[in-house]
Every structure is written in C-alpha cells, then in structure tokens.
C-alpha cells in the first residue's frame, strides 16, 4: 500500500506538468520549463557516460551534430526533421566512434581533455565551412508551420516534446544503470583493473555508453535546433552552454545517480536564466561569476551533490512510510 503513495504522488506531479501550458500563457514561463526539460535530457544523457567514471566536457559536439544534420537535411533537401532524426543518430554514432579512437587509451582528466579537443575541431570546421553552415552568421530554419516541419504557432507543442524527451532520457539512463552495462560501468568506475580481471571489457562498455549518450544528445540537439530555429556555431558548440552545463548540473545534483541529474537541471536551469536576466543585465559577466563560485563551492563542500544531502532525509522518509529498502 505504501508503494502506491509514491506512485500517486508521481502521477499527480506528471498531471500537473501536463497542465502547465494550459495555465501559464506567458511565453517566458513556458520557455523556462521547456529549457529545463531539455537540460534534464542533456544531463541524463551526459550522465550515462559518467557511470563509467570518465567525464566528458565535449557533449556540445554531439548536440551540434544532431542540430546541424537535422536542420541541413530540412533546409537543403527538404527532408522532414522526423525522418532527419535517423540521420542525426547515424552522424552522432559515427562521431562517437571517431572520438572513441583516442579515448580508449585514456582515463580521468586526459579523457576529458580529448573530448574538449574533439569539440573544438568540429566547432572550428563548422565556423570555417561557410557554404554548408553559413559560418558565424548562422543558419536560419525557414518558418513554415506544421507538425512535419516541427514549426508551431505557440510554445505548447515544444513544451510537450521537451517533456517527452526529458522523460525518455531519464528512463533510458535509469534502464542503462540497472542493466548489465550499467553494472559493468559502475564496476569499472570504482576499480577498472579489478573489473577487467573479473571479465568486464572496459573499452567495450565505455564505447557503448559513449554511443548511447552521444546519440541521445544528438536527438536532443535536433529538437533544440527546431525550437530555437537559428543555428550558430558559437551557441551550439558553446563550451559553457552544452559541454560544461550538463556536467555542472550532474555534479550539483549528484553525479552517477539516476535522479541527481534531474535535480541538478531543475535547480540550475531556472537559476541560470534568472541570473542571466537579472544579474546579466545589471553587469555583463556577473551571472558567470556566480556560476564559477557555485562550481568551486560544490566540489569543495558537497562533491556528492544535492542528492547526497537529501539521501539521509530520504532514508528517514522511507522508514516513515514503511519501506525497508530491499530494492535498489
């Protein structure tokens, strides 16, 4: 009976989220929600790789690959983004394979450095290849209403798309965590040599996690491109926005857990937008000063993230509702 309490609470929460676009007509509020859902998805996708203990600071590359492939197929060849999804997935898959070539010999900080270098190479090519990407000036997606073109009059459809993407990403990251792959990844994260001795092919599980994470990020990138309908290398390949932010969200929420990235994204996205609109207008750069301080303080004072602070409360809550904690 006690288990139902959680399900009912979850169901009510979901219902409330479905009703948000009907209640809030303000585009700004809807935008914050939609952006938060995108970041939940991105952070969950990023986190799939972090299960293995090696962190990426180059997910902007996959995000941008998804965005550019989807948008270019639509703009240049008139292919609907729904079909373009397969192209985005395929391209990010190839990108992930290429990136895994240097990555398989690397661990820890050098792994991270390689992901940054990979993103920089793609970003510089995207800026330089003006015929294809229109360079720094940016590529616009023509406004042509319709479900097939992913172009809508109001913000509501994208709210639901982003919500579905967030739910799907979290579900996938939860599924990976409790699959054989997830156990192998976590074993490798705690001691890669012991895991290899027990028969875990570290390179194989790492590459698999990278490919799942990369393709999921590319899917999010494609929808984000149609949500913002302008593609600029400076934005899509942005280190701060799409490489560092998912990592920061995950660290602040609780890295390597299923719900930590969700908590981190829900906490950081509105905060980030708030800081950008209020502090950023008072003084350019002030919002990033706050960001830098949050990052330094989190690593120093609670490296386990918000979830590690909530866990003692959660245990007490579970005891209170009579859950003995025999599940994972």
């Amino acid at each position: 009976m006690k288990k139902y309490t959680l399900w009912i609470a979850g169901g009510l929460g979901a219902l409330l989220l479905l009703l948000v676009p009907l209640y809030f007509k303000s585009t700004f509020v809807l935008h914050i929600y939609t952006l938060t859902f995108f970041y939940i998805g991105l952070t969950a996708a990023w986190n799939i790789m972090a299960y293995g203990g090696n962190l990426s600071l180059g997910h902007a590359s996959f995000f941008a690959i998804g965005a550019y492939v989807g948008a270019l197929l639509y703009v240049k060849l008139g292919i609907s983004p729904w079909i373009g999804l397969t192209g985005a997935v395929a391209a990010s898959f190839v990108g992930g394979m290429i990136l895994s070539m240097p990555l398989i010999r690397l661990r820890g900080p050098f792994f991270t450095l390689a992901t940054i270098a990979f993103t920089e190479v793609l970003r510089l090519i995207a800026i330089d290849w003006r015929d294809l990407t229109h360079g720094s000036a940016g590529l616009n997606i023509p406004f042509d209403l319709g479900w097939l073109n992913l172009t809508f009059k109001s913000g509501a459809p994208f709210y639901y798309i982003a919500l579905a993407l967030a739910v799907g990403s979290v579900w996938l990251s939860r599924w990976v965590r409790y699959s054989a792959l997830g156990y192998h990844l976590r074993a490798a994260a705690s001691d890669d040599q012991a895991a290899e001795a027990l028969g875990v092919d570290f390179n194989l599980v790492q590459i698999t996690a990278l490919l799942i994470s990369a393709t999921l990020t590319a899917v999010l990138g494609l929808f984000y491109a149609f949500y913002s309908y302008v593609l600029e290398p400076a934005t899509l390949f942005s280190f701060e926005l799409f490489s560092l932010q998912p990592a920061l969200n995950a660290i602040i929420g609780g890295m390597g857990t299923v719900w930590g990235p969700v908590i981190g994204a829900v906490f950081m996205t509105p905060l980030g937008e708030f800081l950008r609109f209020y502090l950023g207008t008072i003084q350019q750069g002030l919002n990033y000063v706050v960001y830098g301080i949050i990052l330094i303080m989190t690593v120093r004072f609670f490296p386990g993230g918000i979830l590690s602070l909530l866990t003692p409360l959660g245990v007490r809550f579970k005891r209170w509702i009579g859950d003995t904690g025999d599940n994972q």
Binding site: P102, R105, L106, F111, E120, G285, V299
Partner: protein, 295 residues
C-alpha cells in the same frame, strides 16, 4: 624561399613564448598533478597587470616585470593554498572542475572590472624591426624569445642542481616516496604553483609590447599549453620547449597557407593523434602518470 624562412622565423619566435607559458603548466601538472584550466587566465591577469602599470604609472612593460612577476607568484601560491589545497584529496576530474570554476570566475571578473575592450601598450620599440638579408624580425618578439629561452634554461638548472629543485623532481616522480624521504610535499606544491604562475606571467608580459589583452584571451592559451605539454611529454622541460617551437611553426604556416580559421583545428587534431598513438608524449617519462589518466 625568403618568404618561407620569414614564416618559419615568426613561428619560432611565437613558439618561444608558447613554450614559456606551457612550461608553467607542465610544472604545475607534474608536481601538483592538477590539470590547470585557469592557466590562460594567469597569462591574462599578468597582461592586464602590465597594461595598468603602463597606463597608470607609465611603467615600461619590461620594467613592470619587477612588480608583475612577484605578484603573480604570490597569486599562484594563494590560489593553491586556499582554493586547490582543500580539494587535493578528491579525484583528478573534480580538481579539474575546480580550476574550470577559477577560470570562469577570473575571466568574468576581468570583464566586469576592465570591460571587454582590447587594451594595448604602445612603446617606442613596439614596431621596431631588424632587417637582416631580406628578412624582417620584430625586436620585441626577438627579445621575448631570448628571455623565454634564458628563463627556461634557468629553470632547468634550478631543477637540476639546487636542493629544492631536486625535491620538486622527486615529487614529480613519486610524491608518496618523496614524502617518506622527508620532503614537505604540500609546501613544494605551493612553490610549484607559484613558479607555474610566474612563468605564464613572464610569457604574458613579454607579449604585451606587440599584442593586446582582453578578458577571454586566456582560453586559447590554456588550450595551446595543453597541446604543447601533451606533445612534449609530461615532466619533460626540453620536450615542452621543442613542442612549443613546433606548435608555433605549425601555427605560422597553417595561418599563412591553409586558413587562419583552421590553424587551431590543426593543432587540436595533432593533440588527438598524439593521445591516440603515444599518450605519454614525444619526450614524456610515462612514469607515475597512471593516476592522472595516462598509461
């Protein structure tokens, strides 16, 4: 033919400065085992220091070294003591994130305090050149190269022959054993970070007579220094110097013959290839580097 030699020389002169900045990174990296993402911001801070000393007190960039170098040494020590020392026991990636935080913080504080404008120092020798059998060599760039070479040799002698230098090298090889031998490891971390900051400051100040400074100038320097350190090999000062020259030449040729926009892409590709084929670098020792992610 003269044109190629001209490009080669400007690449080498540039590479000297790059080597200087990268040696600071290599020192911090080898001794403290922290990947310092705020390294370029140290260069940026030193450049601003030189600029303001010139602007407010009319101090010549070369004379300002007397103030900038000790100040940046102290800044590095403070950074290590109060921000990095407390997180030394966490994983390498978490330490790296702390330096990413420092980098964001410094970059945006610079933007707030000094605005996004390009700031330059105009001295009577900024534009002066030597003409030598058809080649044109900028004097401040030549001075910078000479000073870089000299200070790298001095650092080499310091590490090789002094007691403190030997202690630093012992920590690079194995900091646990170094501690057992009675070396005060944490205190040497402070010294290494201070010296690392000092070397990047030297690079920054020497560049001021012929380049300008703005808040985001540090990012490319951080990237460049990582490429050079990895290429030259961790813990290898000579390797870093050669790799610095190599990258300077590559940049000069790529900027002239390929596309200026792609010159950075070229050295990132080199970086990825080195990591793929020989992760310990061309002259790296490969010893004791497992813990920071290289085997």
């Amino acid at each position: 033919m003269d044109f190629y030699i001209q490009v080669l020389i400007s690449g080498l002169l540039l590479g000297g400065i790059y080597a200087l900045i990268s040696i600071g990174l290599n020192l911090i990296f080898g001794v403290v085992r922290i990947l310092n993402f705020a390294h370029g911001e140290l260069v940026m801070l030193a450049m601003y220091g030189t600029f303001w000393l010139y602007k407010l007190y009319d101090l010549d960039p070369y004379l300002s070294l007397v103030v900038v170098l000790p100040a940046m040494f102290l800044f590095g020590v403070v950074l290590q003591r109060f921000i990095l020392q407390p997180v030394l026991t966490t994983s390498g990636v978490m330490k790296m994130f702390t330096t990413v935080g420092i980098s964001i913080l410094m970059q945006n504080l610079a933007l707030i305090l000094w605005k996004g404008d390009f700031r330059a120092v105009q001295t009577f020798y900024s534009m002066s050149t030597i003409k030598f059998s058809g080649l044109i060599i900028s004097i401040p760039r030549l001075v910078a190269f000479g000073a870089a070479l000299l200070s790298i040799i001095l650092l080499y002698l310091f590490l090789k022959y002094t007691y403190v230098g030997k202690a630093l090298r012992a920590i690079v090889e194995d900091h646990a054993t170094a501690r057992l031998m009675g070396i005060t490891v944490e205190r040497h971390y402070l010294l290494a970070f201070g010296l690392g900051a000092l070397f990047s400051a030297l690079g920054g100040t020497l560049m001021m007579p012929f380049s300008s400074v703005y808040p985001t100038i540090g990012g490319p320097f951080t990237a460049l220094a990582f490429v050079i350190v990895v290429l030259g090999g961790l813990g290898s000062m000579g390797g870093t110097f050669l790799a610095g020259l190599f990258i300077g030449v590559i940049e000069a040729f790529a900027g002239t013959f390929v596309s200026p926009g792609l010159k950075e892409a070229i050295y990132f590709v080199i970086f990825l290839l080195v990591l793929m084929v020989r992760p310990q670098g061309l002259f790296g020792m490969g010893r004791g580097t497992e813990e920071i992610g290289l085997k």
